[in-house]
Amino acid sequence: MSFSNIRREDASRAVIVHAILLTYTLVALYPIFLIVINAFKTRKGIFRDPMGLPNAETFSIEGFTKVLAKSNFELFFYNSFTVTIVTIVIVLLLASMAAWALSEYKFPGNTALALYLAIGIMVPIRLGSVSILNLIVDLGLVNTLTALVLVYVAQGLPLAIFILTEFMHQIPKDLKEAARCDGVGEFKIFFAIILPLIRPAVATVAVFTMIPIWNDLWFPLILAPGDGKQTITLGVQQFIGQYVTDWNAVLASLSLAIIPILILYLIFSRQLIRGLTSGAVK
């Protein structure tokens, strides 16, 4: 009888532990849940019974209809995806190259350069907004997604380099030495041996790079607020600004902004933790 072998203290402790975890999970999820269920209600339903699930009487998708008719959510998503993915790819490539050079080669100023590149972790890039705008203007890149990508790459590089440098210290010496003995070139060592090895850290870096970019309001506002270049956060912000009294539309647009990022997160959350626990961040 396996049951009799479970210690009673264990059983009661398990109950307490799960009660705590469930409570907090509820705290974390309920607000999101509330927004999403109310997005599917009529205006009256939203105000009369905010906590009820939509039923036959209160169900309505008028908010979504309005949002989709009055704004260009597909385009906003496309813009956000483009900017986010291009940025992540560039950050990963450039950061792993730099991290590799910093962790592998001894050259004068190595530590100084590493510190220099780490400043950006601690300093908000936003403090330099006006100069950034001037720069983007000089480059003729205003109102382009390219402008956003450049700034986001600069913003994402410091943390990515930091994480990847830590990670690369853990790559066994033997691997690269074996390769050098075989006469493999430095570039090839990096691209053929090192790059595939850092995969566990990639998810971590990607998520840490992605969250602030996807959610950023500031730079889209300053650098690319024009029609057709809005990112999803800016689009939602503008839309909500416009329809703030229309709760159907507000709730629907919030739901539309929330759901994709949560789905992405659900897909990648396992990799994220794996990356974290593989020692990419300490």
């Binding site: 009888m1 396996s2 009799s4 072998n5 479970i6 210690r7 009673r8 203290e9």
Partner: protein, 372 residues
């Protein structure tokens, strides 16, 4: 100090049975070694005794009490881990005192016990060091010290020597043996190394695939393996095996043969029904010697020679393709490529049926018997 009794202990992870009902009696003060290949369940069994794993079925008794649902702290055990598991942020002293402190023992009593253990283990000078400042052997001793101060009823050792280099391993093995003599404590010790098992154990438990293959003293296992697995596992170099056919049986006698020369009459009690069947013949390398003076002989071509100084191992390829190891004297001149005949007394042979069970040997020459 206490007895330990395992009664039909079972362990299941999800749908996988890891232990299939283990029975075992450990007497007070006995040094028991669980030995077996990795994955055989020996570590799981040890963790069950420690209380780190829940028991799926059966009963575990320490000192007469059923402890199935007791937490480790209430079982009166102490454990030494393979990795030593020293707390990296504590000094040696604090590592050893940790359990006693949790037990809210008196400060001076803790101090006395820690210093006594440190004296025994010659750790006096290291008490203020952190584990990272210790050598592997010193860490090992701290891990043992941490167990000693708790004055447990039962000591549990989980492969404690496997992280040490060979020289240190021998030395520490001796220290553990000496410790056991001094403390007279009950010890359960897990290892995959049969040499450790042979040298340390009062009683060896050979495990395989979640089952106990055989329990016995080292010499019993050496001389009277009950299964082909035990025979192969105990002894170094490992026992030679080759297939033979049972040609005829008589009370207390069996005639076996194999293509390429083996044909012998061996002192086993084999049922008539086995005639004509293929069984396995086992002979330890140390019982074989070059020459054909003895009754049981094999021959073939030497394809490897290992010189160890006091002895030389010859690896002979038999006509049926099996390879047989023979221990020759250290001065042997036999070289690779030589055709060699080696022979052993009939009493040194082991015979196993198709299921790996040993046939009963009837004639025990004294040198092949565990009986004193």
């Amino acid at each position: 100090m206490a007895d330990l009794k395992l009664d039909q202990i079972r362990k299941r992870y999800g749908a996988v049975d890891v232990l299939h009902g283990i029975d075992l009696d450990v007497k007070d003060g006995e040094f028991v070694v669980f030995v077996g290949p990795s994955g055989c369940g020996k570590s799981t069994l040890l963790r069950i005794i420690a209380g780190l794993e829940e028991i799926t079925g059966g009963e575990l008794m320490i000192d007469g009490d059923v402890v199935n649902t007791k937490s480790p702290r209430d079982r009166g055990i102490a454990m030494v881990f393979q990795s030593y598991a020293l707390y990296p942020h504590m000094t040696v002293y604090k590592n050893m005192a940790f359990g006693l402190k949790l037990d809210k023992q008196d400060k001076s009593a803790i101090d006395a016990r820690v210093r006594e253990a440190a004296r025994i283990l010659q750790l006096d000078q290291l008490l203020d060091r952190r584990p990272s400042e210790l050598s592997g052997g010193q860490r090992q001793r701290v891990a043992i010290g941490r167990a000693i101060v708790r004055q447990p009823k039962v000591f549990l050792f989980d492969e404690p020597l496997s992280n040490l280099d060979a020289a240190l391993r021998v030395q520490t093995r001796l220290e553990i043996a000496k410790l056991h003599q001094d403390l007279k404590s009950t010890i359960v010790y897990v290892t995959h190394d049969q040499v450790e098992a042979m040298t340390l154990a009062d009683k060896i438990v050979v495990m395989n695939g979640g089952n106990v293959e055989q329990v016995g003293s080292p010499m019993q296992l050496y001389h009277h393996p009950e299964t082909r697995f035990v025979a192969g596992f105990i002894g170094s170099p490992a026992m030679n095996f080759t297939n033979v056919r049972i040609d005829a049986v008589a009370p207390g006698k069996v005639t076996v043969s194999a293509p390429g020369g083996i044909k012998s009459v061996l002192p086993f009690e084999v049922p008539q029904s086995e005639v004509g069947k293929i069984v396995e013949l086992g002979i330890r390398p140390e019982h074989l010697a070059p020459g054909d003076e003895e009754t049981l002989s094999v021959n073939g071509e030497v394809d490897v020679v290992e010189k160890l100084g006091d002895s030389t191992y010859l690896y002979i390829k038999l006509a049926n393709g099996d390879r047989v190891t023979v221990r020759a004297p250290g001065h042997s001149r036999i070289k690779i490529g030589d055709m060699v005949t080696a022979s052993a007394p009939a009493g040194a042979a082991h015979l196993f049926d198709g299921d790996g069970k040993a046939f009963v040997k009837v004639d025990y020459p004294a040198e092949f018997s565990a009986e004193e």
